[in-house]
C-alpha cells in the first residue's frame, strides 16, 4: 500500500492535541497502531535471523574449519577451502562428483550435444537483446547445465559410478517429472465429471500425511523380496534371485517410487484446484468449434494452469533437493553410494563427527539448489506468468 501508515511526528502531535486526555491503555494502543507496520513484520524477521541466518552463517564458518568436540567445548581450526577442495578435487571427489576416467564415445556425444545446446541457448539469448544483469544471472544456469552434462558424460555415460551430486539431481529431475505427470494426470481425471470426486480427493491426499520415515520403512517392508507382499510374485516371475537393493538404478528408482507415492498427492491437490478453476466457457466454446479433448487441453486448459503448475513444481523441486529420510531408511545410501543424496551425504559426515565436511557438502547443496531454483523461477515461472 502506498499509504504510509505511520503518521509523521507533527501529524501525530496534532492528532493527539485534538483528542481528550487518554488513559495509559489508549496510549499503548496508539503506540501499537503507529508502529503496526513494524510489529507485523519484525517477529518473522527476527525469528528467521535467529534461527535461520545465524545458523547459516555459523555453518559457513564451520565449512571453512575443522571442528573437534572435546572436553570443554570445541576446537576450531581454520582450514580455508580444504573441506571444499576435498569434495571437489580430493579424496571425496568420487563421493560427491563421481569417479573420473577416459570418456567413452557416448560420453563424447552427450557432452558435445549438451555443449551445443548451451551455445545455442546463449546465442538465442544474445540475439534477443541481452542486458548486463540478465547475462550475469544466466551465467549460473549455463555453467550448471554444462557442468552437469559433462559430469554425466564422464561418469555414468562412460560406465563409472557418479556421486551424490548427480544422484540428487536424478531424484529432483526424474522424481519431480514423474510426480508432475502422474499428479497432473490424476488431477485432470478427477476434475472431470465423475462421481465420488470427494472420495478420491481425500484418498489421494492420504500419503502426504504419513511421516517420511514411516514411508521409508513401509516401502522397505513392501519391497522385501522374501517377506514382502510381492515376494510370491517375484518368485513366480523367476526373479527370485534378483533384488532391487543390489542394482543401483533399481534402488534409485525404488526410492523415487516411494518419494512419488508421498508427493504426488501434493501435486495432485494443487493442480486439481487449478483445473477446477479454469472457466468452463472456453473449453465448451472450443468443443463446439470441434476441438478434440487433447486440443482443448493443450490450447486452452494448459495455458491457464501453467502458472500454478510452475509454482507447484518450484515448491516440489525445493523440497526434493532436501531428500534425506527415504534413502536413509530404505537403503542407507546403498548399494555402494548409489542412492545417497547430498543431504544424506552431509548427514553421514555429520554422524562421523566430521562437521567441516558436513557443512561443506551442505553448502554445496545450498548453492546448486539456489542456482537451480532461481533459474527455474526466473526462466520458467516469471516468463510464463508475464506472457
Amino acid at each position: 500500500m502506498a499509504a504510509d501508515l505511520s503518521p509523521s511526528p507533527t501529524g501525530a502531535a496534532q492528532a493527539s492535541a485534538s483528542l481528550p486526555a487518554r488513559s495509559r491503555g489508549e496510549r499503548l494502543n496508539e503506540w501499537l497502531d503507529r508502529n503496526a507496520r513494524h510489529i507485523f513484520l519484525w517477529p518473522a524477521v527476527v525469528l528467521i535471523l535467529v534461527f535461520s541466518i545465524f545458523p547459516l552463517v555459523a555453518s559457513l564458518v564451520i565449512a571453512f574449519s575443522r571442528i573437534r568436540l572435546s572436553g570443554g567445548g570445541f576446537q576450531v581450526r581454520f582450514v580455508g577451502w580444504r573441506n571444499f577442495d576435498k569434495q571437489l578435487f580430493g579424496s571425496e571427489q568420487f563421493h560427491f562428483l563421481g569417479t573420473f576416467g577416459p570418456l567413452s564415445l557416448m560420453g563424447w556425444v552427450f557432452g558435445l550435444a549438451v555443449t551445443a545446446g548451451v551455445i545455442w541457448w546463449i546465442a538465442a539469448y544474445l540475439r534477443a537483446g541481452p542486458t548486463f544483469i540478465g547475462t550475469l544471472g544466466r551465467l549460473f544456469p549455463w555453467g550448471l547445465v554444462l557442468g552437469l552434462g559433462w559430469l554425466l558424460s564422464y561418469t555414468a555415460l562412460s560406465g563409472r559410478p557418479f556421486g551424490t551430486l548427480l544422484t540428487t539431481y536424478f531424484y529432483v529431475l526424474v522424481g519431480c517429472a514423474i510426480q508432475f505427470v502422474i499428479g497432473m494426470g490424476l488431477a485432470y481425471l478427477c476434475s472431470r465429471a465423475i462421481r465420488g470426486r470427494n472420495f478420491f480427493r481425500v484418498l489421494f491426499f492420504l500419503p502426504l500425511m504419513i511421516t517420511p520415515i514411516g514411508i521409508g520403512y513401509t516401502f522397505r517392508m513392501l519391497a522385501d523380496t522374501s517377506k514382502g507382499p510381492f515376494s510370491p510374485l517375484w518368485q513366480a516371475a523367476g526373479l527370485g534371485d534378483f533384488s532391487w537393493a543390489t542394482d543401483p538404478w533399481a534402488a534409485r528408482m525404488f526410492i523415487i517410487i516411494a518419494d512419488s507415492w508421498q508427493w504426488i498427492p501434493f501435486v495432485f491437490i494443487m493442480l486439481l484446484a487449478a483445473f477446477e478453476n479454469v472457466p468452463r466457457d472456453y473449453s465448451e466454446a472450443a468443443s463446439m468449434d470441434g476441438a478434440s479433448e487433447w486440443q482443448i487441453f493443450r490450447e486452452i486448459t494448459w495455458p491457464q494452469i501453467m502458472p500454478v503448475a510452475a509454482t507447484v513444481m518450484l515448491i516440489r523441486v525445493i523440497e526434493a533437493f532436501k531428500i534425506v529420510d527415504l534413502p536413509n531408511i530404505m537403503t542407507s545410501g546403498g548399494p555402494g553410494i548409489a542412492t545417497e543424496s547430498m543431504s544424506l551425504h552431509a548427514l553421514f559426515a555429520w554422524r562421523s563427527l566430521d562437521l567441516g565436511q558436513s557443512s561443506a557438502v551442505a553448502y554445496l547443496l545450498l548453492f546448486v539448489t539456489v542456482v537451480t531454483c532461481v533459474s527455474f523461477f526466473n526462466l520458467v515461472v516469471l516468463r510464463r506468468v508475464r506472457s
Binding site: D4, P7, Q14, D33
Partner: protein, 360 residues
Amino acid sequence: MATAKRIEIREMDKHYGAFHAVKSLSLTVEPGEFLVLLGPSGCGKSTALRMIAGLEEITGGQVLLGDRDVTHVLPKYRDIAMVFQSYALYPHKTVAENIGFPLKIAGKTKAEQDAAVADAAAQVQLGELLGRYPRELSGGQRQRVALARAIIRRPAAFLMDEPLSNLDAKLRGFMRAELKRMQKDLGVTTIYVTHDQIEAMTLAHRVAIMRDGVLQQLGTPKEVYRDPANMFVAGFMGSPPMNFVAGNATGAGVKVGDRALSLEGVRVREGTHVSVGFRPEDAELAAPDDTADLVAEVFIAEMTGDETLVTLTAPDGGHIIVRAPPDIEIEDGARVGLRIDPAKRYYFETDSGKRLRADD
C-alpha cells in the same frame, strides 16, 4: 451527530515517482455542500479523493477538515466516511454486522450498535434484509448497505468514489435521486467522484472538473454547462456533448469548409485555428442553401422517443449531433444545412483549448 465540516484543500500534490497525478489542487467545500469531482478516468480525481480520506500519502500541500490540519493524520482519526465503487462490503459479515462495523470498532455496546443499525437501515429501507449476507443482495441493495454503513457513524464528511457506476442505468437514476435526498436530509459535507457528467449535473451543488491532475473549472452545474472555461469542459458536459467544428480565423469569421461563421465580437488574430462549439439543441436543420451556416451530410438519424438525434459528418470530417423533432423525415447521406444560434456559439483556440470571449 458531528456537525458538517468544511473541507479545504490547499495546493495538494501527488507524485508517483515521475508521474505527477494531482497538480497543485486547491478547493474548498463548504459545510453541507455536495461537491462532485468530475473527469475522465485517469484524471486524478480518485487519487485526490483518496488523499482527502488519508488512504494515499500526500506529496505536497495540505488538507484541512474544519479548522484542523489532517494532512498527516491517519484515516481513522479523520472522522470521514467513504463509499467505494465496489461498496467494500465484508462478505463474511451480515448486513447488520456490516452496517454496525464502524460502531463496533468505536467500542460501542451491542445495544447501541443495534439501535443505530436499525435506524440507519430504516433510512435506506433495508430493514428486512439485516440478517442476510452481501452475496445474497442485489446491486442496489448492496449500494444501500454501503450507504447505511457510511451514515451510521454521522461523520463530518462523506467521500464517494463512483458509487453508482456498478448499477444498471435504471437503478442508477433512481439511486441518484435517493442519494441526493439523503445528502440533503443529513446535511453532511460530501465529495463525490464520478466520470458521469449527468450524475455531476444532477447531484452537485458545485462541480469540479479535472483533467490530467489539473482542476479545469469549479462552479455550479449551470455555470459549467452554460459557461465552460475551456474546450475540455465544454466537451465534457452535456449529453450528447457540445459539437465542435474546426476552422481558421479570417476577416470574415471562422472559415469552415466553404462557409464562414461569424465571430460575434470575438477578436482573434487572422490565421489562428479556432473551433466553434455549439450544443445539439442550439442548432437546427435547414436546407443546404446559402443561408445555412454549415452544410453537412447526414450520417445517421436515431429516434429516441421525444426527439430525433441526427448525426452529421461535418466538412472537417468530424461528427455533429443535432436535436431534431421526433417526426422529422431524413435520409442517410442527404446533404443538409445547419443553422446555429449566434448567441449560443462558443469559440475556442483549437490548439490550446482556451475559451475565446467577446469581451477579451
